[in-house]
């Protein structure tokens, strides 16, 4: 009974607080080390090739969920209604062929990842480029705090 109550409460609680969570795992694995590093111009080395570990959300990231199966995603009614309109023929239309190619989806998929740096004239790292099935760049900007800008790149 206690366990049931706990799970129900957590379920209810999650509705309001999970908006920015589902892919944080990947981010953490990539950036956990970075969080420990000296901040100025990212004085650790992230350059290299990485493989995804498919130990969480295996079904969603691998074979894919059934249509209409949004288990674990805190969708609101509007999002759910829109998601239910999806059909597998949608990406076959030219204007929608990149539906599943957004950069955040790329890191969630079972694809490898390559990271390399961009340096300034003083050889300081000013940006990290992440390249999977898409490439995007994370820039450091000091004004006066470190600000990170993300610039997805076109294919």
């Amino acid at each position: 009974m206690g366990s049931v109550a706990v799970r129900r409460k957590i379920l209810a609680c999650e509705e309001g607080l999970m908006n920015a969570i589902v892919l944080r795992k990947i981010v953490t694995l990539l950036c956990g080390t970075l969080a420990l590093s000296a901040p100025a111009y990212a004085q650790i080395e992230l350059t290299g090739s990485y493989e995804p570990l498919m130990y969480e959300d295996y079904i969603e990231r691998g074979p894919g969920s059934d249509l209409g199966d949004f288990t674990g995603m805190p969708l609101n009614d509007d999002a759910r209604a829109k998601a239910l309109l999806y059909t597998s023929s949608l990406p076959s239309t030219i204007e929608r062929q990149c539906l599943a190619q957004a950069p955040w989806v790329g890191l969630y998929r079972p694809l490898g990842l390559r990271i390399f740096s961009e340096v300034d004239r003083n050889n300081r790292v000013i940006a990290w480029k992440l390249e999977g099935n898409k490439r995007y760049t994370i820039y450091y900007v000091e004004q006066p705090f470190w600000i990170v800008a993300i610039e997805p790149e076109s294919t």
């Binding site: 206690g2 589902v22 694995l29 969080a35 995603m73 957004a102 990170v148």
Partner: protein, 254 residues
């Protein structure tokens, strides 16, 4: 929701560089030198593996865990009635299983060298001892005898804050748990053995709105039932107080 990934990555990069010029923490005990404050109440965020964490899966439903054949054989023989009869209904509440459970956590300092973690799910208690091996920590023999939570040795992994660097101290807590009583990684009988080594890295992330998330990166290594380390990351959100704390006993079925 997946669109939050890049902002989250951006925030972490930002956080890695914030706090420049902050005061350096004084040297002293692990409690005094903590690079972040883990104390308080936290609730598990179950947006990953919902179908296996929020409900008890059927026998044999164990994809994504890198078990070997021996592990699969044991998992396929799972029988919660036998566990109940044997008084082993807490098998899914041992440290490697507990951290993926739909639970709340309460962190407090038991003393200057020992961080205590309580769960309301199964009413478990974990102790993170700083300062070396169990023997060096003076862990009593009786306690070292395999319990559900084993023996956890912790350390701060600290970066920044060097003299004159202008950087704030920041870092992770690393813990290594051994001497575990055999239990389940997943509620439906996915086993781990007494030889398991459970390594965790705890990191704190603060969002722009002040929300705090504790990320517990898990590495479960079991030479008996796993063919590779099982690596996952669990997220907990900071709660204002213990108002939602709701202790419940171990349950072998739900």
């Amino acid at each position: 929701m997946q669109g939050a990934m890049l902002p989250a990555l951006a925030l972490m990069l930002l956080l890695s560089g914030q706090g420049r010029g902050a005061a350096q923490a004084p040297p002293g005990t692990p409690r005094a030198t903590t690079p972040f404050d883990p104390t308080g109440y936290w609730v598990a965020i179950i947006s990953e593996d919902w179908r296996w964490r929020m409900i008890t899966p059927a026998r044999g439903d164990f994809p994504s865990i890198p078990m070997n054949r021996q592990g699969q054989r044991v998992a396929e023989a799972w029988d919660p009635a036998k566990d109940e009869a044997a008084g082993e209904q807490c098998r899914a509440y041992g440290a490697p299983g507990l951290m993926r459970a739909p639970t709340r956590l309460h962190f407090t300092w038991r003393d200057a060298n020992t961080l205590q973690l309580e769960s309301d799910y199964g009413k478990q208690v974990r102790l993170f001892r700083f300062g070396g091996t169990p023997a060096a920590q003076g862990v009593p023999t009786a306690q070292a005898a395999k319990g559900w939570q084993g023996v956890s040795i912790a350390e701060w992994i600290v970066g920044g804050g060097g003299r004159g660097s202008g950087d704030a101290r920041r870092g992770s807590m690393k813990s290594v748990t051994t001497q575990l009583r055999p239990g389940y990684l997943r509620k439906n009988g996915v086993p781990y053995s007494a030889s398991t080594v459970f390594t965790e890295y705890w990191d704190l992330h603060t969002e722009a709105n002040g929300d705090q998330y504790l990320v517990d990166t898990n590495i479960v290594e079991d030479p008996v039932y796993l063919q590779a380390p099982w690596v996952t990351a669990i997220h907990f959100k900071k709660e204002r107080d213990g108002g939602k704390w709701d202790p419940s006993p171990c349950d072998a079925r739900f």
